[in-house]
């Protein structure tokens, strides 16, 4: 069982690295947001695997909190970006009127 979990953790870490590459390379801001979303879900699964590997059920509570926190992070970033886009549009509108 430990061997299976170790292989799974290694594979997951490699895929997380490639997602990070996408987040760094991404041409647009939304590319990075998608990559960050995927990384957070993989991180949750990684926490669960580590908890099973160490035979410690406390890790599940950490994972549960992390699900909600990562979702909150994406929502906050999204609201921030939407607000910035609306502000930019407004400024352009006033410049056009003047």
């Amino acid at each position: 069982m430990n061997l299976i979990l170790l292989i799974a953790m290694g594979f997951l870490s490699v895929t997380i690295f490639f997602c990070l590459l996408r987040a760094v390379l991404g041409p647009r801001m939304t590319d990075r947001l998608v990559a960050v979303n995927i990384i957070s879900i993989k991180g949750i699964i990684l926490i669960l695997l580590i908890g099973q590997y160490l035979h410690d059920n406390q890790f599940m509570d950490i994972a549960m909190v992390y699900v909600l926190l990562s979702f909150l992070a994406v929502v906050c970033l999204a609201r921030n970006m939407l607000a910035r886009a609306a502000k930019k549009e407004k400024e352009e509108g006033t410049n056009g009127n003047v």
Partner: protein, 107 residues
């Protein structure tokens, strides 16, 4: 019985990891954000569910199994909403959306 649990858990975790790998590959194969979000939204939800089911075979006690189910349910609730927000931002901030996909009608 122990052997059966081990094999079943290993199979479920392997399927989940394969879908995670496909999701990562999809991030590089597609060329535009709205197509990448498709991969991110679908493959990640199912892969998380499969790994959680696989871990249920390994874990001991009813509390752990229910907690794993609750985590999977949280992921299924939150992941589509996050993807939808990413789509909304992309549609609202991209000025030349028509170059990338046909647009029938916009909100």
């Amino acid at each position: 019985m122990e052997m059966f649990k081990l094999i079943a858990g290993a199979v479920f975790i392997a399927i989940g990891l394969f879908i995670f790998g496909v999701a990562t590959l999809g991030l590089f194969r597609f060329s535009y954000v709205l197509n990448r979000v498709h991969v991110a939204a679908k493959c990640d939800s199912l892969a998380a569910l499969f790994v959680c089911i696989g871990l249920m075979f390994f874990s001991t006690g009813a509390g752990a199994i229910i907690k794993l189910l609750v985590i999977a349910a949280f992921i299924w609730l939150t992941n589509p909403v996050a993807s939808h927000l990413v789509c909304k931002i992309e549609v609202e901030t991209n000025e030349n959306l028509e170059n990338e996909c046909e647009v029938e009608e916009l909100p």
